[in-house]
Symmetry: none
Subunit: 226 residues, 2 copies
DNA sequence: CCTTTTTGGTAAGAAATTGATAAGAATTTA
DNA sequence: TAAATTCTTATCAATTTCTTACCAAAAAGG
C-alpha cells in the first residue's frame, strides 16, 4: 500500500517532495490534477494525502469534499495563501493539517509522519493475523495458541519455534536455519531440536507420531504445512 | 473529563483562549508553568493540550517529553518563534501540531477540534469506564478500586501498573514494555517488577499464589484477563 | 532382499533459567 | 523527622531447556 500521495499541479514541487520523502523511506507518488488525483486515491489507497489548495481550474477543497464522501484518509493541505479563511476552510471540510508555502521540507515530512503515526497506531489494534489448522488456532500478533477453544501452554522457546515454522509455511527449513533463527548464537545439539519438535507435535497434533502439520524433511529439516 | 488544557506562562493569552473556546462549547482550563501543567495533566486528564513552547525557565518541549513517558494525549504546540527548528523539535518529541504566534483564534480552534475529533474517534474503542472481576471493581476514569464494596488502598505505582495491564487486557505484556510504560526512564530491576505484581495480587486476588486475573506469562511478562 | 549406516524419535533426568517471596534498605513525601 | 512508598537483594521454588542414551525408521550398498 502506498504511503503518501501528493496532488499538486506544479510538477516541480510534487517531484521535489517525492524525492525528499523517498530519502526517508516513505513511499511516494504524485498526481497533477483533480481527475488524476481522484483516480490515484481510488487505485493506490494512500495512507496520507498531501493536497495543494490550488489545482488549476479546481480547488483542493473540492477534491477533499469529494474524497470525504467515501474515505477518512488523512489529508494535509498545502497552500500558497497564508490566510485565515483558507486554513479554516481546510479544517472545516475534514482536513487534518494545513501548511503554507514556502514551507520547509523537513517540517512537511515531520507533519506527514505525525499523521501517519497516528493513523497506523489506531489501525494496529484492528489487524489480527491468525492462522488455523486442525483444531488449532494461532494468533501471530498476540502470540497465543488455542486448541479446541482452550489455550495451549507453549513454552517461550516452543512458541518461537512454531512461529518461525508458520512464517515460512510450505517451505522446508533446514535444521541449521532453525538453529540460527530460533536459537541465535547459543548453539545446541541436533538432537535437542528434535526434542522440541516432538513437544510441539505432542501439543498440537492429533497423532503426534503421524504429524499432519509439522512435517519432517528427511535428511534436511522440517516444514510447516496446512 | 476536561477537553482542553492550555499551558502558557502568559495568563492573558491563556485566558483569552479559554474564553474563546468556551464560546464554542469546549471545556477549558489553563496552567501557567511547568509544575502546574504537569499536575493539571495528571489530575484533569485533558483530551488535548495546548502547550506554549516558552514556559519561563523551562520549555514546553521538556514538559512534552515528560508527559510522553506516560501518556499519548495529543499536544498542540504554540510558539512565538516561527523557525523550522522549533517546528521540527515539536513533531520530533511527539507533538501533534504546531502553530506560531500571532495566530487566529479561529484557526487554533479548528486545529484543536480536528485533533479532538481524530482522538475521540480512535479512543471510542478503548474507552471502558469500569471493569469488574471477581469481587473487585475498577473505575478506570476515577482511577479507584473497590473490593467487596470496600475501597482498596493501592499505591500510586500499583494503580498505574494495574491500569496499564487492564487497558491491555487479554494481551500478554512483556516485562520490558511494562518497565517502559509504567516506569518511563527511571530504570528498575526485573525483580522489582515481580514484587509489585505480588503486591497487586495480594490486594486483589482471592488466592494470590494462584492468580486468576493477573497471570504470569513465563519467560516473557504478565497478562490481565478476566 | 538383507544388512549396515545414517538419521530422526523417544524418554528420563540433569542443568540452567526464571519467577515468587520475604525482609529490610533507600527514597520520597508530608 | 516520621510515615509512606518504592527499590534491592538473597533465597527458594517452579519452570524451562538441554543432554544423553536408547530405540525406530529410512536410505545405501552389496
Amino acid at each position: 500500500m502506498l504511503e503518501c500521495l501528493i496532488i499538486d499541479d506544479d510538477i516541480n514541487i510534487a517531484e521535489t517532495i517525492c524525492e525528499y520523502f523517498s530519502l526517508f523511506d516513505l513511499s511516494c507518488e504524485y498526481a497533477v490534477d483533480y481527475e488524476a488525483g481522484l483516480k490515484a486515491i481510488a487505485e493506490k489507497k494512500p495512507a496520507v494525502i498531501l493536497l495543494d489548495v490550488n489545482l488549476g481550474n479546481q480547488t483542493g477543497f473540492e477534491l477533499c469534499k469529494k474524497v470525504r464522501e467515501t474515505s477518512e484518509v488523512p489529508i494535509i493541505f498545502i497552500s500558497a495563501r497564508n490566510t485565515v479563511d483558507d486554513a479554516l476552510a481546510a479544517f472545516g471540510i475534514g482536513g487534518d493539517d494545513y501548511i503554507t508555502k514556502p514551507f520547509s521540507m523537513a517540517v512537511l515530512l515531520a507533519k506527514t509522519k505525525a499523521v501517519l503515526k497516528r493513523n497506523t497506531l489506531s489501525q494496529s489494534q484492528k489487524l489480527q493475523p491468525a492462522i488455523s489448522f486442525g483444531d488449532v488456532e494461532v494468533d501471530m500478533n498476540l502470540e497465543r495458541v488455542m486448541r479446541a477453544g482452550e489455550p495451549v501452554k507453549l513454552k517461550p522457546l516452543e512458541l518461537r519455534l512454531l512461529l518461525y515454522l508458520i512464517e515460512n509455511q510450505g517451505k522446508p527449513i533446514t535444521k541449521d536455519e532453525l538453529l540460527e533463527k530460533v536459537w541465535g548464537d547459543t548453539f545446541i545439539g541436533d538432537g535437542t531440536l528434535s526434542v522440541h519438535i516432538r513437544h510441539l507435535r505432542e501439543k498440537l497434533e492429533a497423532l503426534p507420531n503421524e504429524p499432519r502439520f509439522i512435517k519432517t524433511i528427511w535428511g534436511s529439516g522440517y516444514m510447516f504445512e496446512c
